[in-house]
């Protein structure tokens, strides 16, 4: 439904995006992850037709309806809905008036426009506030209206650029419900974020960017398989542990210690946990607490780039 082939963009001597390829199919949510400055926003801008790529091409649609996206292909742009990171709504126009405007930009008019506006407001739970101005809304309601503005022309592809920044948990859950509903309706959704838990909850596939390039693109299961450790152990221990020696133990990866808290990745929880406890006991470290967890996207990013996602 949405396909980017070898996108590249430079500003002066600075290469912001290099050779980026990705695709999003109908009924799929693809997460675009990366730390600040990874090139996510420029990628999104190229995928929306806001910025012309120096290299590469973007296509929307499938089969005979496939179109290349350029600034001069309104047919392709019409099939994309964009939810910018900023609250891109007119604060002193009513909620419905905002949607009427954005629908009109895509050529909708009359009864069809009114119908779409009602449907979009219904979807985001703002039907009863249609006449109110967003300046009276809470942050979460504004975010939902921001999403509705991208839905009103019923696009096949939706691009969300960090749509939950500054949103309370309740509104965030409401937004997630909306996105899952859209996915069920067969929309192709590209979702940029640096919140790991959002990507884990929503995304079927994840594209990880760093320094303008794709460092991994796979399903969540596929990404987890790349990890040297699929689980983590966290222990509260006495004394400073010899991390270099611990890291050489079979099945133990990336041990770190922060005060009394010892953290390590393990390939097989059943074998590694007893072995680690024995190793610590043999070196005189008393263990007061132990807990285990599953490796997450944060660990995947760390293992792929050597950096924290929020660096």
């Amino acid at each position: 439904m949405l396909e980017a082939q070898g996108l590249g963009k430079s500003y002066g001597n600075r290469q912001v995006v290099a050779g980026l390829s990705l695709s999003v199919a109908a009924g799929e949510i693809v997460g675009l992850l990366g730390p600040n400055g990874a090139g996510k926003s420029t990628t999104v801008a190229m995928l929306c037709g806001l910025v012309a790529a120096d290299q590469g091409r973007v296509f929307v649609g499938d089969g005979t309806r496939r179109l290349e996206l350029t600034e001069d292909t309104p047919g392709a742009k019409r099939r994309i809905g964009v939810v910018p990171q900023e609250l891109s709504i007119y604060e002193n126009l009513g909620a419905a008036a905002n949607l009427m405007l954005f629908g009109a930009l895509y050529g909708l008019a009359g009864a069809l426009l009114r119908e779409r506006v009602e449907a979009a407001l219904q979807l985001v739970g703002l039907a009863d506030r249609a006449g109110d101005k967003p300046q009276l809304f809470s942050g979460g309601m504004k975010r939902r209206l921001n999403i509705a503005a991208a839905l009103v022309h019923d696009p096949d592809i939706l691009i969300f650029d960090e749509p939950t920044v500054g949103v309370d948990p309740q509104s965030r859950n409401a937004i997630f419900d909306n996105l899952e509903l859209l996915k069920d309706r067969g929309k192709a959704l590209l979702y940029t974020t640096h919140y790991m838990e959002e990507a884990e909850r929503l995304c079927d596939r994840v594209v990880i960017m760093d320094h303008g390039q794709v460092v991994a693109s796979d399903t969540l299961q596929g990404l987890y398989k790349r990890l040297p450790a699929v689980a983590t152990l966290e222990l509260e221990v006495d004394g400073a542990v010899d991390l270099a020696a611990l890291g050489k133990e079979p099945g133990i990866t990336r041990p770190t210690q922060d005060g009394a808290r010892l953290h390590a990745g393990v390939a097989d929880l059943g074998q590694a946990a007893p072995a680690l406890l024995s190793w610590l006991a043999a070196r005189g470290h008393a263990v007061h607490r132990i807990s285990s967890g599953r490796a997450d996207l944060e660990d995947i990013f760390l293992s792929l780039t050597g950096r924290q996602l929020r660096d």
């Binding site: 912001v16 990171q85 930009l105």
Partner: protein, 384 residues
Amino acid sequence: MNFTAFRALVRKDLILYFSNRRALIMSIAAPIVIAAFFGAIFGSPGDKPTRIPIALADRDASVLSQAIGAAIKADPAFEVTSGEEAAMVELARHGKVRAAIVLPAGLGAEAPRALMLGGAKPVVAVHYDPSQAAAMTLVRGLLTQHVMKALGDSVGGGARGAGSFSLPFTTEAVESTARRDAPYNSYSHSFAGMGVQFILFMGIEVGVGVLLARRLGLWKRLRAAPLSRSLLLGSHIVSGAITALILLAIIYAAAIGIFHVRVDGSVAGFIGIAIAFALLTSSFGLLIAAIGKTPEATRGLAIFATLVMVMLGGAWVPSFIFPPWLQTASLVVPTRWAVDGLDAMTWRGLGFEAAVMPIVMLLAFSVLFAAVAIWRFDWEEPRS
């Protein structure tokens, strides 16, 4: 007192202020430019005084009237155009000269008699531009001086120091307005000047609105829609022009309804100038959007530019007191054409032909502003 905190707060304010270079430049440049403007207008003691353009019609063609005419022409205070009465009066009416002096037929015969024997005095008509009435006092004073000198020369010095004689002529001050029966309404010019100024301020808001839309991400949403660049910019030009036109209509409705300002000239010309000025306003706004960076700094800079344009346009002080170079320079300022055009269609009562040049110039400036705006407009999203 927590002096560390106090010092840190003061330091913070200073750093923030002085690191905003545009605001800093504005704070320094604005007083310098405005002070230089007023200094140039009012001149320094050593400056050569500005010559006042006047017109002279001699209906008498006597020795005396020719001597008066020669003296007026030789006066360094005046820049004299002479010719037929009707043409000279028309020059005053169009604002091309500050006053038109008409020496009446019979002046050469009647003035010496009135001086020596009394009796009927000839009437010298002075048709003056009422929007610049300050010039009238000077014109009348110098006219009296030249008449008395010429008369004195012709009657053998009898008029010199003629404290015991009454003036051998009277002057009739005639306002060069649309109708002889309707006195000059000073609100006409002030509404033109202030209307132009504050509608240009609205144009600034059009431009700043685009910059704010960029900051808020709204521009991103508009750019993502299947709309051409010309449609996006064109919509701003049209909406800005419509707003300017509505504001101008309301301002003139108040001027007409409350202050009895009249459109004594061509109504079509007035509407034409209003439309051309409205387009100028919106293209000025677009220019601001194209060259501005942040809304805050741009607003300050644009207000400054507008004030300079309005000053040069003659809305604050009459342009005749400008030094000659500034009077010439102000012709390349669009506000001068707008104010002069609105004056021409209201109290001057001129026909459509007088509106043509202001309309052409305002449209030309609109095209220029729009062309620069399109050329300079940054269509790329902010780099990240």
